[in-house]
Amino acid sequence: MSGAKPRLTTAAMIASIASEGQKTKAAPFGHALVALAETRPEIVGMTADLAKYTDLHIFAQACPDRFYQMGMAEQLLMAAAAGMAKEGFTPFATTYAVFAARRAYDFICLAIAEENLDVKVVCALPGLTTGYGPSHQATEDLAIFRGMPNLTIVDPCDALEIEQAVPAIAAHRGPVYMRLLRGAVPLVLDEYGYRFELGRAAMLRDGADVLLISSGLMTMRALEAADALRKDRIEAAVLHVPTIKPLDEATIVAAAAKSGRPVVVAENHSVVGGLGEAVAGALARSGIAARFRQVGLPDAFLDAGALPTLHDRYGISVSAMTTTLREWL
């Protein structure tokens, strides 16, 4: 029988994206939605057996009569959210990114997006944010959703941005897909005097040697990588692009056109069909032939394992990203 075993540090359950000692905020989405709901009586919360795991339980506790537990039925969740919207309500519908993108796609597409209905699809576990393996790793959610007409897509970086994005996506009339970081979410952008604006990219720091373009949690990694590169006398600019669609092409093109610096797009997503290819298309259409690279997940079904291990393995940890950038530059 096993005695007192040393705690394994490589356990699959290490699933936090916060690094040691990083400032965090608890359940920013849930709290922001509760605050917003006070003045927006038409907002309702809906989920498919994942309230606790999408921070919607905060809303369910605060506004029990405006919360709809639909059971583990993602297709129903999206169809019913469409129905609610047709009756004048604004549902925030939550599940995991894989189940919205893969299982419920057709329902989001036809029942919600085609009629431009006011449904906000908010999904935890975007990209590679769980070690559970391909069933839970939404490595291609952006690729799937970018092709959907009418849909606005948001990939917030941290707790501050989630708090600000919630009222902003509610103010926008029409369907939105938002990638969600849940639980203890890192707080980073408060140090940059940042304000989220739907549809706008923001230059968080400038630098002449390389332009890092990123979204979601990769923006905090890009900022850390930029710090690390400074020690090698490489000055990196970081352009944060929280709205994936519609893409702020003007800001991206202007930043890439400046000083002929190479462009690296970093995303918590497959290199196929995400921000990287969206940026590449924008640059090509504008006739900008910058040196171009992607830091992103390979076009493959990824391994199961501990999240830090996997982020290193697939090149999206700060250290893996910094190493790659040093090699390229």
Binding site: L8, M13, S135, H136, A304
Partner: protein, 282 residues
Amino acid sequence: MSANAGLPNEPSLAERARRIRRNALRMGEIQGQGYIAQALGIADVLAVSYFHALRYHADDPHWEGRDRFLLSCGHYAIALYAALIEAGIIPEPELETYGVDDSRLPMSGMASYTPGMEVSGGSLGQGLGIGVGMALGLKRKHSGARVFNLMSDGELGEGATWEAAMSAAHWKLDNLVCIVDFNNQQADGPSTQMLCSEPLEAKWDAFGWFAQRVDGNDIDAVREAFDRARTLDEAKPRVIICDTRMACGVPFLEARERNHFLRVAPEEWQKALRIIEAEAAP
């Protein structure tokens, strides 16, 4: 053939279930948390499956004549690994690697990782449909093998389950057995409060299935239900709804509320293991 051919020195099904619980607890201890309550709850059903009902060769998990056991609820992998270890399909020392990087035993069951794991079931609600196809395929090959699909009660919420249920009856799949673990638990709370599927037996019956509902922690009742499902001479699929108790066999864990994903303190794993060890046949 099944590892249990009723030989006089064979451990009883109750002893098999006890060892499955022990294996599961030892794996749970590695991670310190997880789907241990489900594993303890379904151990009796797995004991009957692997030591009474299923035909397989432990040394050849891909044997063409095997009965196919699909773990639709992939997060129950810890339970199935515990049974596969007891069945000799996975070597016992490997349980130390449960959920560890590069292990063959990931937290969510995947066919490409583990011998004896027929499907990758983490996206819930897919198993029964795959089972329909395998049952059709086996009939096409004139194989006498059966398909057993184990699903959780949460999967009853997925529309795909009922598409498959209707299809199985349409195709008269008498070689398909569906086992529903009715533990009345889902991620957010009790299943009956999430999306109530009752009256469940009547539903399956109306869908054209031979339906039985038993206490899933009463080994004799489970064994008899499996026997009826296997011997029924009617051209229809069979479902066994098993009412199980989360964490069955470890009272202090059974008493916990919210037990979809249990966090268990280090000393509590040993306490739980001692309770299970104490039940060992002398």
